[in-house]
């Protein structure tokens, strides 16, 4: 796909050049710029996930088990929930960072269009979600290593096959991608009108109140169940793609007519 760009000089509109710019090339450059222009996005991943790893390996739920009243086993239950929560926080803050107006203004220092800007943001979100999913999943290994090194006793954990590892990472990626898209839409809505987000929160609260008043199942719980109760990875991915597409379509609707100002 090709786009045309005419560069004008400051004096009065005489044509300085005439170039055809590939959309793909522009998107590539913008994605590279979004992801690698500043190290903060990756350093924040390291910092936030390390914090989650420390929490996950330090906080545990103690319990005990007795067999026939003879042998007592003291069990410390660890999980990677903290690490996952930190990964959600990172993906949301990063997607907000990508969506803030200053970043979008920088986008237009490239020879770009609304479309290339939008596509590059989507690709950047997908890359962020993928990196976040892989590092969060690998981070679980670091948590179990820390537990093994610094806590006494036998460490019990489930061993997965390679295919199961891939499925686990894919599932994690799906959740992070939805969080990223939701964060990006939220910041776009906020920039469209500062009252949109509070308004949506009020609307959400109203729906919650009405659902409890009329004893209808909570919509948020139904949304959570819609994803959490899915046992097939393929169907889950279809759901993720559909929901992410809706969220990003919302982003496109919000941003396509916005002015670029510096």
């Amino acid at each position: 796909m090709k786009g045309r760009c005419i560069l004008l000089n400051r004096e009065g509109g005489s044509t300085m050049g005439f170039n055809e710019v590939s959309l793909i090339e522009t998107v590539k450059k913008q994605v590279r710029f979004k992801l690698f222009s500043s190290p903060s996005i990756w350093l924040s991943l390291v910092g936030i996930q390390l914090f989650g790893i420390i929490l996950s390996s330090a906080i545990h739920n103690p319990s005990s088990m007795t067999t026939d009243g003879i042998t007592l086993t003291r069990i410390s239950m660890y999980d990677s929930t903290f690490l996952m929560v930190m990964s959600y926080i990172w993906i949301v803050t990063s997607s907000i960072g990508l969506g803030v107006s200053s970043m979008r203004r920088i986008d237009f220092t490239f020879v770009s269009t609304r479309l290339s800007q939008f596509i590059s943001s989507v690709v950047a979100l997908v890359v962020l979600a993928a990196v976040g999913a892989v590092t969060a999943y690998l981070g679980s290994g670091l948590v179990s290593l820390i537990i093994n090194l610094f806590h006494s006793g036998l460490l019990v954990q489930v061993n997965f096959s390679l295919m199961e590892h891939l499925v686990n990472v894919t599932g994690t990626f799906g959740y992070l991608l939805m969080f990223a898209a939701a964060g990006y839409l939220a910041v776009c809505l906020y920039q469209l009108n500062r009252f949109v987000l509070p308004g949506m929160l009020v609307l959400y609260g109203g729906v919650m109140y009405l659902s409890s008043e009329f004893e209808v199942k909570s919509p948020s719980l139904q949304v959570i169940r819609f994803f959490e109760e899915e046992m097939s990875i393929m169907l889950f991915l279809l759901k993720v793609i559909a929901v992410t597409a809706i969220l990003l379509f919302g982003v496109w609707l919000v941003t396509r007519n916005q002015e670029v100002s510096s």
């Binding site: 990677s80 929930t81 999943y137 690998l138 290994g141 290593l145 537990i147 489930v158 199961e164 046992m231």
Partner: protein, 234 residues
């Protein structure tokens, strides 16, 4: 709660860090170049990959207390255990017999009792043999505690069997206590694969030691009421 606690800690630490690291002009005193930042990020990923590999290689146990189960030896043990329990072993030369001795019985009466009421750390099997004698043969068949793929070392060592005249007292020095750490991935990570709950992924099998007594018919045996259900008379 698991969601709220890290969230609160995160925002608390983040706000403290921002306040500490900002200069008066609002700019952070420490900043990393793009290259340094990328090196640090790649370094982090490298650490994660190495950790994942090490976790696979490193034995997940305390080296002294838990040892990997020798499956062949464990198979032989299980077969010998049931035979011994049923008195079917032709000879008592099994490598799994850890103690054997003769006990001289006075007054032709033997009382078997625990030191603590109802607490018997062994199974008792009594084989009555014909004849008139004041001596009984006793054997202790080793016990095993298997946790997942690991065997607890010295499981039988804490058991004390004290023969005194016509009383045989059995007890345990202290209740054995073992420490397990269980790690499970967050539910999101394993939604489409196996269940990672502790109950479904941890197995404990306990093979209690057997105290086998060959007692001549001339000796009258009394078993403490509190342990009668733990005694098998062949």
């Amino acid at each position: 709660m698991t969601f709220i606690l890290p969230l609160m800690l995160f925002f608390l630490l983040a706000s403290i860090l921002v306040r500490i690291t900002q200069n008066k002009d609002g700019r952070p005193p420490i900043s990393f170049s793009r290259r340094t930042g990328l090196y640090m990020s790649f370094g982090y990923v490298l650490i994660l990959v190495v950790a994942a590999v090490v976790v696979k290689i490193l034995p997940m146990s305390d080296e002294t207390l838990f040892q990997p189960v020798d499956q062949a030896e464990f198979g032989q043990y299980k077969a010998a255990y049931s035979e011994f329990q049923e008195g079917k072993m032709d000879s008592f030369n099994s490598p799994f017999i850890v103690r054997k001795w003769h006990q001289l019985i006075s007054d032709n009466q033997l009382l078997i009792k625990p030191r603590t009421v109802g607490s018997m750390p062994v199974k008792v099997v009594i084989e009555r043999i014909p004849g008139d004698s004041d001596t009984i043969d006793t054997f202790v068949f080793d016990g095993k505690l298997i946790m997942d793929d690991y065997e607890v070392q010295g499981y039988t060592e804490e058991i004390v069997i004290e023969p005194q005249a016509n009383v045989l007292t059995v007890w345990e020095r202290e209740t054995p206590s073992y420490v397990l750490s269980y790690f499970e991935h967050d539910g999101v990570m394993t939604q489409f694969t196996s269940d990672t709950s502790f109950e479904n992924n941890h197995t404990t099998s306990e093979w209690r030691p057997i105290l086998y007594l060959k007692i001549p018919e001339s000796i009258e045996v009394t078993i403490d009421e509190s342990i009668k259900d733990q005694v098998t008379e062949l």
